[in-house]
């Protein structure tokens, strides 16, 4: 019984490593960080999807979808908003990235605001709010190994196995091997998951029509917001869609993929394709979860529901779900590790000590990957109740990068004073409201991140009008407009990079 699911998971790892074997080995830090800006739309699309979709979707989000139904479709709504954000931030990110050799989100922001503080601060934000996700995903990998092997491989050794493979290809190949692996993972998870969900629907409820008919007669609340058993006001829905939508592309592991695109056209095509592919994939998951609400055994353990129905469907279905969860999880973990290691090497180490050679920068990044893996393994063995709780609320923090990015790219008056103050004050307010949970949060429905976001934008706008744009800003805007107008040959003296700026 355990041989088939385990073999399928090991086969997934073997095929992935065979596919990326030629991508292992990098010659420069830029290659490690951006894959030399060489990937087309297909790779960027599936890489964004593989990094973005998490393995915990089949546990934590399954619990939400099976319990509350329609509300879980907020992911489809916010994905569309996130891709619009991606579409709009792509041009300047691509132009500044390529023109000034920028390789990370934090470096981009440090360059725009001409501030090492902004660079380090946004780098730290990206790491701190990402870590809970990293740990949850690693634990998910261990859980899948344990479940698929019926306990023969313990959760700890499952985590070690998954991490060992990821550490190997991330440290050796950087962005190049991460994206190559992501394409394979993305295809497996999108097509595999959709096919498996359709199979579950036909096996357990006899099709989508029958499923909806059953849902509308037996548990109609599942088909509208907020679903059975709770009664948050509509602003709760507004908040989770808007906050996730604005924050969804602010994760450095998603944003940094923009630097790997071979052209602006490739990035924009992937922004077009991703939400539609994601909508089909995620809707099939939520509808399956809604129909499974009819199963008593499923309701007894909603977070383990999909693994349970897969097990009930036989070893191949269990193996397939194991592979899909692993594809989700490995895609996310590898993207996160590559982004964190790049940030540590590029945005923290090189800012603290500017004369780090290219070779040393790669080594710092590689060592970071190994250290992150060991630390994650350690935290993964602890009680994760708090970690899951933290992971779900990290959007309250990461969304606060949105004003810094959006105003920085589109508003010449945005300045470093506003960005630093807005980021810190907005996050502080958001976290305060989240952890102390005053009564108006639940009664009004607007989530803490909304208040933090409004405060942050207000601070940035006030700071922006408090002083005129700097000479750097004026020149940057002029040069960027010239690039848009294809007049780059008329450029005069180029801008100094951040490394030459004294704050």
């Amino acid at each position: 019984m355990i041989l088939i699911p385990l073999s399928m998971i090991f086969l997934f790892f073997v095929v992935m490593l065979v596919i990326i074997r030629k991508q292992l080995g990098v010659s420069s830090f830029e290659e490690y960080a951006t894959a030399s800006r060489s990937f087309g739309f297909f790779a960027i699309t599936f890489s964004v999807l593989a990094t973005w979709c998490v393995g915990a979707m089949y546990t934590a989000w399954a619990g939400m979808a099976i319990t509350y139904g329609f509300t879980a479709l907020y992911c489809v709504a916010y994905a569309a908003i996130t891709m619009i954000i991606m579409y709009f931030v792509a041009p300047k990110t691509y132009i500044w990235g390529k023109k000034y050799g920028i390789t990370t989100q934090s470096e981009l922001l440090g360059f725009r605001y001409q501030s090492k503080t902004v660079r380090v601060l946004t780098g730290i934000w990206g790491i701190v709010f990402t870590i809970p996700w990293l740990i949850v995903e690693i634990v998910t990998q261990g859980y899948v190994f344990e479940y698929a092997s019926d306990g023969t491989i313990s959760q700890f050794w499952g985590m070690v196995l998954g991490l060992a493979v990821i550490t190997l290809f991330v440290s050796l190949g950087g962005m190049k091997s991460v994206i190559s692996a992501n394409v394979f993972q993305g295809i497996v998870l999108i097509f595999g998951s959709t096919a498996l969900m359709v199979y579950f629907v036909y096996k357990f409820v006899g099709g989508f029509g029958a499923g909806f008919e059953m849902a509308s007669t037996q548990f109609p609340d599942m088909l509208t917001f907020p679903g059975p058993g709770w009664d948050p006001p509509t602003p709760y829905w507004t908040s989770i869609v808007i906050l996730s939508g604005l924050g969804g592309f602010m994760w450095p592991w998603a944003y940094n993929k923009l630097f790997a695109g071979d052209s602006l056209r490739s990035i924009k095509v992937s922004a077009l394709l991703s939400p539609i592919i994601y909508a089909i994939f995620f809707s099939s998951f939520v509808f399956t979860a809604i129909f499974l609400h009819s199963q008593e055994q499923v309701l007894a353990d909603v977070q383990g529901a999909f693994l349970y129905v897969a097990k009930e469907s036989g070893p191949f279905a269990l193996g397939m779900l194991g592979v899909i969860i692993m594809a989700n999880s490995v895609g996310t973990v590898s993207g996160i590790m590559q982004a964190i290691s790049t940030t540590v090497s590029r945005d923290i180490a090189q800012v603290l000590k500017s004369n780090i050679s290219d070779k040393k920068a790669i080594n710092i990044a590689r060592i970071s990957v190994v250290i992150i893996s060991i630390l994650s393994l350690f935290f993964g063995t602890l009680d994760l109740g708090l970690m899951v709780f933290l992971a779900l609320f990290t959007y309250d923090g990461i969304t606060l990068l949105f004003p810094v990015v959006a105003l920085g790219l589109f508003w010449k008056r945005a300045n470093k004073e506003g960005a630093i103050t807005g980021l810190i004050a907005g996050t502080a307010l958001s976290m305060f409201l989240r952890f102390f949970n005053p009564s108006f949060i639940d009664s009004l429905g607007w989530q803490p991140g909304v208040y933090g976001l409004i405060l942050s934008i207000l601070i940035m706008v006030v700071a922006g009008y408090a002083k005129s744009p700097s000479i750097f800003d004026e020149k940057l805007w002029k040069e960027t407009n010239e690039v848009f107008g294809k007049n780059s040959s008329n450029l005069t003296k180029p801008l100094a990079k951040l490394d030459n700026v004294v704050e």
């Binding site: 908003i81 602003p235 808007i242 056209r265 924009k268 922004a271 848009f484 003296k493 030459n500």
Partner: protein
């Protein structure tokens, strides 16, 4: 320079996306669609309405992409600069 038509195009699409997002999420508007009946295309109205809004956003992106393609905004040539002691040079 980035011309006025391009700027107007971006602002126009930004307003369009904002309106659709308001219809998709905001209290008052979303509440009107948050119901099961009538069923459309085999879906409860709430799900149909959500997919309609997502489709409108997607169509907006397609339309914007086609306009930008015609305006030549998708194939931007970027000259790379490298810093030196004098502030930089073309590579």
């Amino acid at each position: 320079m980035e011309n006025a038509a391009s700027r107007k195009k971006n602002i126009g699409f930004f307003i369009y996306y904002t309106l659709v997002i308001i219809f998709m999420t905001f209290p008052g508007v979303f509440d009107l669609a948050n119901k099961i009946d009538p069923w459309v295309l085999g879906l409860p109205f709430s799900a149909f309405y959500l997919f309609l809004c997502v489709s409108l956003l997607f169509l907006g992106l397609i339309f914007q992409y086609r306009i930008e393609d015609k305006l030549g905004e998708l194939d931007i040539e970027v000259e790379i600069f490298e810093n030196d002691e004098n502030g930089g040079k073309a590579k």
